[in-house]
């Protein structure tokens, strides 16, 4: 059933399949170190505590410039997410004023069904407040970024199902700032040293290295509550960036846990079913020279 030709063809197919990443591999930037994520792999699932911490970082730091227009408050209490209680979400939503032309005075208190309010009324307002740069919306940002693979390693991703390029990139970006342009900065094409434009910051991982956003995180910036058993979570940029990257992945893929759980059952079924089908096929074809 599987001769050399079959294997050759399979290899050809896989190579063809995989070559799409060759283009991604051509994009610039320093190599990004992959992180361990609880949501990676077949049995991946979000860490509720991490998502809650990530939400805290998002709310206290990121959300002053970045929107998340596809996220509703109610999502925060849905299964497979940060798992806040409905009462918590209701209270949280009520802390925000929502623009609503049908309400008295044009605004009203938020409810769980409302979308996350944008920090700026228009794109122009956002640019004016950020030196001309537009802070991207967070809703699907974790899936709109990826990492570059060295050599032909991208082929392996099709077998491991690696889908955490976004959080890996975001984590790297948040830890990739330099106060001064470092020695490692690439030279311009005419050989002159790298020069940072006014109002820009140097980042190892941002394409072109000059990023409009200043380093958003610093140690002890966000005060995490200690866990139920009194264990302390480190208040470091490393920890914050992990947590907020995980939270951003949840925002981009809120149904990930249910999807993977279903997928495991589907694959298990298909393997068993394929086995039964093969046995039936053998039985029907028994005694037929073919």
């Amino acid at each position: 059933m599987f001769n050399t030709k079959t294997i050759l063809a399979a290899i050809a197919l896989v190579a063809g399949f995989a070559s799409v990443s060759a283009a991604q591999a051509a994009e610039g930037g320093a190599p990004i170190e992959k992180q361990n994520w609880s949501f990676a792999g077949i049995f991946g699932t979000y860490d509720t505590n991490q998502l809650q911490r990530g939400f805290q970082v998002f709310r206290e730091v990121c959300s002053s410039c970045h929107g998340a227009r596809l996220i509703s408050f109610r999502n925060l209490s849905e299964k497979g997410g940060p798992n806040f209680s409905e009462a918590q979400v209701k209270a949280l939503a009520a802390e925000y004023d929502i623009a609503d032309p049908t309400a008295d005075g044009g605004t009203r208190k938020g409810v769980a069904a409302d979308r996350w309010p944008s920090p700026f009324a228009t794109e122009q307002d956002a640019r004016d407040a950020n030196g001309g740069a537009m802070p991207p919306d967070f809703s699907v940002l974790a899936k709109a970024r990826g990492v570059k693979e060295e050599g032909l390693w991208w082929i392996a991703n099709y077998f491991t199902g690696y889908s955490e390029g976004g959080p890996d990139y975001i984590h790297a970006l948040l830890n990739g700032y330099h106060d001064e342009v470092p020695e490692s900065a690439p030279h311009n094409s005419d050989g002159t040293p790298f020069e940072l434009a006014e109002g820009k910051h140097y980042n190892d991982y941002f394409p072109g290295h000059a990023i409009g956003m200043g380093p958003p995180l610093s140690d002890e910036l966000v005060a995490y509550e200690p866990g139920e058993n009194g264990e302390e979570v480190p208040l470091t940029v490393e920890q914050y960036s992990h947590d907020v990257s995980a939270f951003m992945m949840w925002m981009a893929e809120p149904g990930l846990v249910a999807r993977k759980e279903t997928g495991f059952k589907v694959l298990l079924f298909l393997f068993v079913f394929a086995g039964l089908m093969y046995a039936t096929k053998r039985k029907i074809w028994r005694g037929i020279e073919h």
């Binding site: 059933m1 079959t6 050759l8 063809a9 050809a12 197919l13 190579a15 063809g16 399949f17 995989a18 070559s19 799409v20 990443s21 060759a22 283009a23 991604q24 051509a26 994009e27 077949i42 227009r69 596809l70 999502n75 809703s139 699907v140 940002l141 899936k143 709109a144 970024r145 990826g146 991703n157 099709y158 199902g161 690696y162 889908s163 390029g165 976004g166 394409p207 981009a252 809120p254 149904g255 999807r259 993977k260 279903t262 997928g263 495991f264 589907v266 694959l267 298909l270 393997f271 079913f273 394929a274 089908m277 093969y278 039936t280 096929k281 029907i284 074809w285 037929i288 020279e289 073919h290």
Partner: protein
Amino acid sequence: MSEHSTYTPGTGIEKWLDERLPIIRFSKEHLMDFPTPKNLNYWWTFGAILVMCLVVQIVTGVILAMHYTPNVAMAFDSVEHIRRDVNGGRIIQATHAVGASMFFAAVYIHIFRGMYFGSYKAPREILWILGVLIFVLMMATAFMGYVLPWGQMSGWAATVITNIFAAIPVIGNPLLELLRGGFSVGNPTLNRFFSLHYLLPFVIAAVIVLHIWALHVPGNNNPTGVDVKSSRDTLPFHPYYTMKDAFGMVLFMIPFAWFIFFAPDILGHPDNYIQFNSQVTPTHIVPEWYFLPFYAILRAIDFNILFIDSKLGGVIFFGGSIVILFFLPWLDRSKVRSGNFRPMFKWFYWLFVINFVALTYLGAAPAEGIYVILAKICTAYYFIHFLVILPVLGRIEKPRPLPTSISESVLGKSHA
């Protein structure tokens, strides 16, 4: 093919129906009794797998269309709405998106199987031509479907691909405006692409009916390429091939499900999660993987040929690389169908496969340095295979002796 009919209406109603619309008789002849060579291998299950792929795409597509909004301001968010808020939406959307890739993976296997075993040779030329037509329709459908989520790659693919048509002399620009519904890619483009994306699958289904009709006149080719001589060479389609095909389909669903549930976005590009912005060009505009070989050919022509400028030249080679497939039955002069009995063809066949995979790789590689030269070599070889190698092989190659019948070859194999 009524000579295969073993149908006798059992009841009065069946008899009544048989005299007016013999649909049961037809089904029995073509779906059950149809004599099929007994030696078909698993590569032959891809026909059934492709029918399954089309059905999956149509069923998931119809559901997606119930929730999708074809408007430049809302399309991107409506796809996210499907993923987030529609019951089962994430799985349906992922099945449709991954399904496009699986459909092409299967169709490439199906095409290359046909090429190896000479399934395009007389009397199956029309069957092959209809197949190439289906392939072209699939490419058009897939391309327009990829535009609908209105991400950066969607919008820029629409821009780049419609631009190709502008290279055609005289009618180029009017054609470009007709395709886009304006001077640039915008709301009219999205609307007509959505309309056509919904229409074309049904056209594909109709051509598939013709494709199967054309198959059922001469019957299946087989791995020996030798014609069916007697009923000893064949088995009824049911239960032998219904079972084998069903098993093939279940096997095919395993990688399909793997991608849907564990890496639904791995076959796409991250940039398509950024809404289309005609003012911001992505660093690399890359089509979906299944277009890459042809995209590589398009880009490989970056030089003027006499009075033809490079842009038109690229379009001619790009179109030619597909059009040439229609002529394959007459380019391959060898009387022997199966590559198993053609010692020289076998090597050139695999070289062609490797060349095709190389073109796929080069289509995604940046157009710089060594890649540009390799793309030119591979493009040249693609055409040389059809225009030089196949016709010449037909003259100089000495095929190995063919078995006198399918049964003989089958018995020889089991006793060897």
